[in-house]
């Protein structure tokens, strides 16, 4: 052991004990360390097992020991069964490497009670770079640790609650989706059955007028069916692609009429409307197209009919505009304000807050419907 070669006298720390007695004389720096409320110790690595050579009053207050009980001992006596082995190892490595270390470690007082020690250890070297002492400060951070624990516990509890709630909501959504599919399935099947009933009934009827009524009724129900078939094909069940629907409807009505001489002219911008507008719009378009088919074209001498039915859907300045036109006989001779088809169209227009106008298209008729429509969201119509 080579005490005497260092600059400090070997009994430097005993001097501080003297200072305690003779307060105010000697080294004021040492006096400050003696008196501070921060717990501090100094150990001597050149003695066997790096024992404490100085401990201030704050350390004794913190740990509950007497000075003579701690001097000459290695600080590990503060550790106990619940002290984290990894934290101890971290300190050991730092001391072996003569490095600083700052670690929170669980320590035990003399009475066996525990406290969280925010320990900071650093080596003190002489001019030649040899480590002479280790200096350490201890801060009781039990309160901070407790709240840290509480925060972690709160966080865990919160996360668990969120997880549970999410699972509940997912289950509820799953149930809702299943229910929606089930209801959708039934609605579609029932619409199919209604159509089937009408078709079967119609087969048994001889009277032309009644047959005609049933056919018209079937067309209307099939327009509703087409709406429903299309409604749940998109991912967003609250939006309805009206242009795709119109294409389906017109193709269907034209081929059903069996009049290949009548050609459709479709100018359909992709337009999406809200689902609740789908049914009235569909019924209205159905009425107008069937009217054109039924009333606009005269049979030629060869028994065939030729002509054109146009449908245009566009969305100028936030208005949804539908035009159904034909190049047929026009409506000059029509007297049908009291007829059911016209009444239906007008009522549906009112429901939709739509303006509707029959124009003489010379030749033929052009019906123009214009209604307010919410702004289009890109990408909705074709996903």
């Amino acid at each position: 052991m080579d005490w005497k070669r260092t600059r400090e006298p070997a009994d430097a720390w005993h001097m501080t004990d003297d200072l305690h007695v003779e307060h105010g004389k000697g080294d004021p720096f040492a006096a400050a360390i003696r008196a501070t409320r921060m717990s501090m110790v100094i150990t001597d690595p050149r003695r066997p097992d790096n024992p404490i050579v100085f401990a201030n009053d704050a350390f004794l207050r913190l740990t509950g020991y007497e000075r003579h009980e701690v001097l000459g001992k290695n600080c590990r006596f503060l550790q106990g069964p619940k002290t984290d082995k990894a934290a101890v190892a971290q300190i050991r490595t730092a001391i072996e490497d003569n490095a600083d270390v700052s670690v929170d470690i669980l320590n035990y007082r003399k009475d066996g009670s525990t406290f969280w020690n925010a320990l900071y250890i650093s080596p003190v070297s002489n001019d030649k770079g040899e480590v002479q002492f280790f200096f350490a400060s201890q801060l009781d951070v039990s309160d901070r640790k407790r709240s840290e624990h509480r925060i972690t516990a709160d966080k865990d509890r919160f996360e668990k609650a969120v997880k549970e709630r999410t699972a509940e909501l997912e289950a509820a959504l799953e149930a809702q989706t299943t229910l929606l599919h089930e209801v959708d399935h039934r609605v579609k099947n029932n619409l199919q059955m209604i159509s089937s009933l009408i078709i079967m009934q119609r087969r048994t009827i001889k009277d032309e007028a009644t047959r005609h009524s049933l056919a018209t009724m079937l067309e209307r129900i099939e327009a509703l069916s087409t709406v429903h078939r299309r409604l749940y094909q998109s991912k967003d069940v609250s939006r309805f692609d009206v242009s795709d629907f119109a294409k389906d409807l017109v193709t269907d009505l034209l081929t059903a009429s069996g009049r290949s001489g009548i050609k459709p002219k479709l100018e359909l911008d992709p337009i999406v409307i809200s689902a609740e507008k789908a049914t009235p719009v569909a019924l209205m378009v159905n009425e107008l197209v069937t009217n054109a088919l039924k009333h606009a074209f005269k049979e030629g001498p060869d028994g065939t009919t030729a002509g054109r039915i146009g449908i245009k859907m566009s969305q100028p300045d936030g208005h949804f505009k539908i035009e159904v036109s034909d190049d047929g006989v026009g409506m000059a001779e029509a007297n049908g304000d009291a007829s059911f088809g016209m009444r239906l169209i007008k009522s549906l227009a009112r429901q939709l807050h739509a303006d509707i106008e029959w124009r003489d298209a010379g030749p033929g008729t052009k019906v123009v419907i214009s209604m307010p429509n919410e702004p289009q969201q890109k990408g909705l119509s074709h996903d």
Partner: protein
């Protein structure tokens, strides 16, 4: 004249099966059987020589329509077209089926689909336009309606 089709109907709803039968016959084809469950469908596919089976997904013994399609596909004697209000339940590979007629179909939609299928089965690929409400499986889309 293209030869008419022999049709097997696999549908649990009597009313729909009845009406489908009439429409098939009105279009000049014949109905060789009506099955309401997957077991019935299996035995009928053995005992009849149907060209095409219209298979609903939901049958009296549950959502077994896809299994029925698989079974028919393995026998390789008949082709399958799904006919369902629940097209989302059809697997992506369509279990080998030609496609799906989505319910509710229109009377004309069905008639057009029958014509289209007749052409496709007898003299593929079909020449008429694909009817609204009829969707081809990806495999048949590639053969019957290749992108130009």
């Amino acid at each position: 004249m293209t030869e008419p089709l022999k049709v097997l109907i696999v549908e649990d709803e009597a009313l729909l099966a009845m009406e489908l039968e009439s429409l098939v016959e009105e279009a000049g084809h014949s109905v060789v059987g009506w099955a309401t469950s997957s077991a019935e469908a299996r035995s009928m596919i053995e005992s009849t020589d149907a060209d095409i089976a219209f298979v609903d997904i939901h049958l009296t013994d549950g959502p077994t329509g896809v299994d029925v399609a698989h079974y028919i596909g393995e026998k390789k004697r008949s082709m399958v077209v799904f006919m369902t209000a629940n097209p989302k339940r059809i697997p992506d590979h369509f279990a080998g089926a030609i496609g799906v007629i989505a319910k509710p179909y229109t009377m004309n939609g069905l008639t057009s689909a029958l014509r289209y299928l007749q052409e496709g089965v007898r003299r593929p690929p079909p020449v008429s336009a694909r009817p609204a409400g009829f969707t081809l499986s990806p495999a048949f889309e590639a053969v019957w309606a290749p992108a130009a």
